[in-house]
């Protein structure tokens, strides 16, 4: 089985993000970057499938020059080779990312395209679904369990209100939720090995993708802060505040 999988570079998910004073973006000074956690789940799933039944795992990232570092993490987790489409996040929306990935899908012709269900920076949760529609492929989003049997994939999907199971025929698009697996930490030998794995660099010009955005973020601001609260010392004091001040009980 040949699997294409995403490896998006995101700001450290646990970092406190601050907006630039002029509202043109976020403060990046001192920020660390990581592999998108949901992409880690997708990569882990791809590598596990490969370990079971062979085939090839191709990891793809779209991002600035530094995004190759995170692509190397995907290679260290077990992907065989990488594709780095050079395009900064600021020049991208979900739709453009999807149209780039559609081109790569058409080039690579994988049996399965695994993505993280969302990137924890833009939080849009669109790309996998867009790709599936552009390619007229079945999708299984928010996957928490995957089983392959022949040319069919059985997927458990985490929904509000319960767990759904669907079956999709390959090729298919699957987006990973957090419960799909526990992503492995790359071992040092694998990190070293990953440095020698091939990475193809591409541009959207070379791919023939129109850079136009459908949705553009034109300003960034900090959300209104909650008014500072107080600390109470006892349950009695808490009850008094909830009943008499907040009138919440």
């Amino acid at each position: 089985m040949k699997i294409l999988v995403t490896a998006k570079r995101v700001t450290d998910p646990d970092a406190k993000i601050r907006v630039k004073a002029d509202g043109t973006g976020i403060e990046t000074a001192g920020l660390e970057y990581k592999l998108n956690p949901f992409c880690e789940n997708a990569i882990e799933a791809a590598v596990q499938l490969q370990e079971k039944q062979g085939g090839e795992v191709v990891a793809v990232t779209i991002g600035d020059d530094d995004a190759v570092q995170n692509l190397r993490t995907a290679l260290a987790m077990g992907a065989d080779r990488g594709i780095h489409v050079k395009l900064p996040d600021a020049q991208m929306d979900s739709d453009l990312a999807a149209r780039i990935l559609v081109k790569l899908f058409e080039q690579e012709k994988p049996d399965l395209f695994l993505l993280g269900k969302q990137a924890v920076d833009g939080d849009s949760n669109q790309v996998g679904q867009l790709v599936a529609e552009y390619l007229d492929l079945p999708q299984a989003c928010f996957a928490s369990k995957l089983e392959v049997a022949g040319d069919k994939l059985t997927v458990d999907r985490e929904l509000d209100g319960g767990m759904e199971t669907i079956q999709v025929g390959l090729p298919a698009v699957v987006t990973a939720d957090l419960r799909l697996n526990t992503p492995r930490l790359p071992t040092l030998p694998n990190v070293l090995k990953a440095k020698r794995k091939p990475v193809q660099e591409l541009t959207i010009d070379a791919l023939g993708v129109d850079p136009a955005l459908t949705v553009a973020t034109i300003a960034y601001e900090a959300p209104p802060a909650r008014k500072g609260g107080i600390k109470v010392k006892t349950v009695e004091e808490l009850m008094d505040k909830l009943v008499n001040e907040a009138k919440a009980l």
């Binding site: 999807a98 949760n125 999708q139 319960g162 957090l178 459908t214 959300p223 107080i230 009850m239």
Partner: protein, 325 residues
């Protein structure tokens, strides 16, 4: 985006009330761009529910009722929604952001050639210059976005728009003939609902969430008497769900459920960025944690530093007395 089609959702044979704030969004947007809105209801055996949607000022309530729509599948549903949007002359489609619409709407957007705004929290400006706000980076950033396509798709954050107001008018119910185009590429197998006697997280006036500080299932169960008494929904942090103590759909946060109840209790949870993203718009937040430096205290209205195992029974007892139970 002057003619907006709102997707109302059904769940287990009923209108999902949490999907209706999208009607409020559409009414507001229609007002600001000088347009109108209609509501669409898809499903099998749902025609009888249309009457519940006719009082909100929509021009039409479209019903697509066919056996094929008994269960959701992304590909065929996206085709059907776009077909209805074309029949209805709609140039925008909106639905409340939940796992149903997050799956469906991007496909609809791709099919319409429309830009999509996810998790829309506000409409800014009006007319041709109308823009939208949405949270990014787990709610630490509020982005203002403009849609650059003639058509648009909106995921609407349900906690940021009120339930729709009854206008007293009566929308026309239109039975739309849209076929379920099964391409055979995906098959529904089963759905296992989370069985709970408690209200749904998104609908409850009081939510009580527990974190790792409650240690295990027995510790987490200490939330039950309090939840019973307040008719509260129970939520959890990722750590609790990962430990198998709670079902997945009780996870509150950036990538789980977003709630904004009247009263939110955060018990034994530190307040990680990802969790806070899902609850910081709650009206009143109470935090109970033994670590006085825990970040949850910076978003809480009332913080109580101490051992949750000791405080929970005391608090439950105090509320019981207050309520005269």
């Amino acid at each position: 985006m002057k003619n907006i089609l709102v997707i109302a959702e059904t769940f287990q044979g009923k209108i999902r009330k949490t999907s209706l704030p999208a009607v409020t969004f559409a009414a507001e947007l229609a007002g600001k761009v000088g347009g109108e809105f209609s509501i669409a209801l898809f499903g099998s055996g749902v025609a009888g529910l249309a009457g519940e949607l006719t009082g909100f000022g929509a021009k039409n309530v479209y019903v697509v009722d066919a056996p094929g729509f008994a269960n959701y599948l992304g590909g065929p549903w996206a085709k059907a929604v776009v077909a209805l949007a074309q029949q209805a002359g709609a140039t925008a489609v909106a639905a409340v952001s939940d796992t149903f619409s997050r799956d469906l709407l991007p496909r609809v957007a791709a099919r319409m050639g429309a830009g999509m705004v996810s998790e829309t929290t506000a409409i800014v400006g009006d007319g041709a210059g109308v823009k939208f706000q949405r949270p990014m980076w787990a709610g630490n950033v509020l982005g203002t976005v403009e849609v650059r396509t003639p058509t648009a798709v909106f995921g609407v954050r349900g906690t940021d728009f009120d339930p729709p107001k009854a206008t007293g008018g009566a929308s026309a119910v239109q039975n739309a003939s849209i076929a379920f185009a099964d391409d055979g590429k995906a098959t529904y197998v089963k759905f296992e609902p989370t069985v709970s006697a408690r209200p749904d997280l998104a609908e409850a006036a009081v939510v009580i969430s527990g974190g790792r500080g409650l240690k295990d299932a027995a510790g987490f169960a200490l939330l039950n008497p309090l939840a019973d008494m307040l008719k509260a929904a129970i939520g959890a942090t990722r750590a609790v769900v990962d430990a198998g103590i709670c079902p997945n759909d009780l996870q509150v946060g950036q990538t789980g459920r977003v709630v904004a109840p009247q009263l939110y209790f955060a018990v034994g949870l530190s307040g990680a960025i990802q969790h806070v993203a899902g609850m910081k718009n709650s009206k009143v937040i109470v935090a109970i944690n033994k670590d006085e430096e825990a970040p949850i205290f910076s978003v809480a209205d009332y913080g109580l530093v101490g051992d949750a195992f000791k405080i929970l029974p005391e608090l439950t007892d105090a509320i019981r007395k207050h309520k005269g139970l």
